[in-house]
């Protein structure tokens, strides 16, 4: 059996794995339990990094979509697709972890708050991008239209956030719970763990994009072989 070569991507993924283990140790063992919310507050160290990851992913989708329309190089389309798929996973994780956290703290799974509305629409945009891609006949036009959706989605997300904030001013959030009234105690350790988690999940996002990118490249090569044979 041939041993897989230790190229850059493999080293990067192994490195990310080690960092993830350290991060999990920090989250579940090292960092002290928060006074107000108790153990449930540990969701923070997952929720904030995945939210950051999904927003970073839509930026990558937008940037590579613009580059694809400008340069017409396959590379950018592959990056956009990989970022959109990873972003959809991160978006789903963000929504799930957020709901699990909101239920004990706010007393509800979901409210019409600005950030929640925004993240839900961000997730739907990722799904729309991927579904449109999957349902469109293969070819250059598919890639071009995906790029267009990516750009419009990325421009739309900050506008939606702004609109949801404007909307909220009219309807103040009816949040009443222990966290809404008492001051949250943020220690040095919590900030450090949070920052480390953000770095970790950025690495996870990048390795997912790297992996998906190579996979996509191989898929394209197989498609080319099939076309050449027929």
């Amino acid at each position: 059996m041939k041993i897989t070569k230790l190229n850059f991507i493999n080293i990067f993924i192994i490195f990310t794995g080690i960092i993830v283990v350290i991060d999990m140790w920090m989250i579940f063992v090292w960092v002290p339990t928060e006074i107000n919310q108790g153990a449930i507050q540990r969701i923070l160290y997952l929720h904030v990094p995945v939210a950051w990851g999904s927003m970073a992913a839509i930026c990558i989708v937008a940037f590579s979509s613009i580059m694809y329309l400008y340069k017409k190089a396959e590379k950018w389309d592959r990056i956009a697709l990989s970022a959109a798929e990873s972003g959809a996973i991160f978006g789903a994780m963000m929504l799930l972890s957020g709901m699990l956290w909101a239920r004990p703290v706010w007393g509800v799974f979901w409210t019409g708050e600005a950030k929640l509305t925004f993240s839900l629409i961000l997730f739907i945009l990722f799904i729309a991008y991927l579904m449109f891609r999957a349902y469109f006949p293969k070819g250059i036009q598919q890639k071009r239209i995906s790029a267009v959706i990516g750009i419009i989605g990325a421009i739309d997300t900050p506008i939606i956030y702004f609109a949801a904030n404007l909307w909220e001013r009219a309807h103040p959030p009816l949040i009443a719970g222990p966290a809404a009234t008492s001051d949250s105690f943020i220690s040095q350790n919590i900030i450090l763990t949070l920052l480390f988690s953000v770095v970790t999940f950025t690495l996870v996002l990048s390795s997912l994009i790297f992996l998906r990118y190579t996979l996509r490249k191989n898929e394209d090569e197989i498609d080319l072989i099939i076309i050449n044979k027929t």
């Binding site: 349902y135 421009i155 739309d156 404007l166 909307w167």
Partner: protein, 223 residues
């Protein structure tokens, strides 16, 4: 040829077709009336609390029915190959977009204004005000910009209607927020200054997406 005349010709063709078939207008009006009346059946309309959700019901009805109508309208064009002929004709792509946009805009505007008295009667509230007309114009502008753009984009995709709504709804959520909040304030007899920030926001939204649609329109038509 004069570009304005071309734009008007494309729009006129759509409107004449619409006058003869009465498909889009009836879809929007019929469907929105249906949605509104379902809510009348299922909630008690005379309490103060339910009156607050009337704007939400109204705008949801308009957006849902507009999406259905858009899907219908463009599927007719594809079946008969009319849209392909239009693209092949020697006119600039931007003008095609302007023309399609104009006809859609007129249709949404007419139907959203027509749906007003229906809402007014069914929910027993007075929403026939001049501020509302301004709101309907600017929101219809945004709806028809993105609607036209996405409808033309999803011409070739499988399960066209579903895909159209999947990209259209999230993109127009800001307009929905604006429409619902402004209408709520107009119903409560608030001043113009209360909805001013929303009006500016919608104008900004319309301008941005109109420009982007124009910029990207060429890309979605290239084969």
């Amino acid at each position: 040829m004069n570009p304005f005349k071309t734009i008007w010709n494309i729009a006129k063709r759509d409107l004449i077709l619409e006058l003869r078939r009465k498909e889009v207008l009836f879809t929007i009006l019929g469907f929105s009336t249906l949605v509104l009346s379902i809510f009348v059946f299922s909630i008690d309309v005379n309490t103060k609390e339910t009156q607050k959700i009337v704007p939400a019901i109204y705008w949801s009805a308009i957006i849902f029915s507009f999406t259905i109508a858009l899907g219908r309208r463009f599927s007719i064009e594809i079946e008969n190959g009319a849209f392909e002929a239009l693209i092949l004709s020697p006119i600039s792509k931007d003008i095609i977009f302007f023309g399609k946009f104009t006809s859609n805009f007129i249709l949404v505007l007419i139907s959203s204004v027509f749906a007003l008295p229906i809402t007014s009667i069914l929910f027993n509230i007075n929403i026939l005000k001049i501020e509302y007309l301004l709101l309907a114009i600017i929101i219809s502008f945004g709806l028809s910009t993105l609607g036209t753009f996405f409808a033309i984009m999803s011409i070739k995709v499988r399960a066209r209607e579903v895909m159209l709504s999947l990209v259209f709804f999230p993109a127009v959520t800001p307009l929905l927020f604006a429409g619902v909040d402004c209408m709520d304030k107009i119903i409560q007899n608030n001043n113009f200054s209360d909805i001013q920030s929303w009006i500016f926001f919608v104008l900004f939204y319309d301008a941005i997406f109109f420009l982007i649609s124009l910029l990207l329109f060429d890309h979605i038509l290239q084969e």
